[in-house]
Symmetry: C2
Subunit: 225 residues, 2 copies
């Protein structure tokens, strides 16, 4: 299967110019990618130059929430409500073709353009923190100590609506040139997945056993909302 493009509101920026046949419009694809991943790369412009920073996020309905310290440079800019590009990428496999030229990577990515705004309302901020925690581990929020008022104040949360959104997906094996299929070269896919290892106990646990969600962690199962 070729790359596909999913767009909520197609704009100049989210209309794929190279391969328009890959276009596709589907909220489920976008939400599936955003719920499986938990790190995004946020781009913004600082003094006319691009800056890209990895950060954690959560989705609530049709809004993205980005988590970060108010002291970081990214958020000092974003607090004013600035243009961002938020990109989420999942790598699914290496595509090994018979020619160097046709090597590729299977991936799913979402690109979101928009203006990120600071979340001021304490109730909305708490809802976002709940989503951040449960996006990492479903159900974790209710087991841990909740944020104090000063922790809540110390946490900067930004909101970006899912309006100008596109997704690109590549799946399937290599597409070789017809004459290359006779070459004596192995071709196919090496699937890649982010896998969890055995949980590592904190040194000061005093015998508390790791819960199932830590023993059998999976992004496929653990997707947030």
């Amino acid at each position: 299967m070729e790359l596909t493009l999913t767009t909520f509101t197609p704009t100049d920026r989210t209309t794929l110019k190279r391969l328009p046949k890959r276009g596709q419009f589907d909220h489920a694809i976008v939400f599936g990618i955003l719920d499986e991943a938990f790190i995004c790369h946020v781009g913004f412009v600082s003094e006319g130059k691009p800056v890209v920073i990895p950060t954690a996020y959560a989705r609530i309905g049709e809004d993205m929430y980005i988590h970060g310290s108010a002291a970081s440079r990214m958020l000092r800019s974003l607090e004013e409500g600035i243009d961002v590009c938020l990109t989420v990428t999942l790598v699914d496999g290496l595509v090994l073709a018979r020619s160097a030229f046709h090597h590729s990577i299977n991936y799913r990515s979402v690109v979101i353009f928009g203006t990120a705004k600071l979340v001021d309302d304490p109730a909305e901020k708490l809802k976002a923190l709940h989503a951040f925690t449960d996006h990492i581990v479903t159900g974790r929020w209710r087991e841990v100590r909740q944020p104090t008022e000063s922790e809540l104040r110390a946490t900067t949360v930004l909101k970006l609506p899912l309006v100008e959104v596109s997704a690109k997906v590549r799946t399937g094996g290599p597409i070789d040139d017809e004459e290359d299929y006779q070459l004596e070269v192995w071709a196919g896919i090496v699937p890649l997945t982010l896998k969890a290892g055995l949980p590592i106990d904190d040194e000061r646990l005093n015998g508390i056993e790791p819960p199932d969600y830590a023993r059998n962690y999976s992004r496929k199962l653990g997707a947030g909302d």
Copy 2:
């Protein structure tokens, strides 16, 4: 261990403002991250707004090469030699603390600022394509059909020198508030790694068996140069 910052040539942009104690200067850390990962997020400014796109890359010495089609919008801009921010992130684990506030993620990231320039010289371009292929699978280049002249022309390669570079690394378990250590909550790390599954044969292989590098694929072993 706390976050660390590694910078080749510290500048305003690569000097971490929030936690200066995390600063560290070491080429080996930067190269280790760049060689283990193979997807970067490239940010650039298009009509005053940020754009962030995932793409493949390879490192040759102290230069980064970015791979892409000349037809994509990113490269139409980058060909002129434009400012980019290239960010590479490896996620190593989830850090589950006893309070929601202290949850964190173990990761290693590199941020590179600079001007990306189009590679025109065919010999340098071929060297970069060699590095792209072998960065995905070491030794693959010599087994597959080499690029034709027209494939070489159809491939756009951009070069970004590793000059203004910083790295951030978080390792280790949660750091909880002293009074939270008494809580009956499991805390620790859920390690995460990009793991390869069994190789999937292309449909038209005619019995060629997958090589060892596809059967036992690992980014830790397979790092490029």
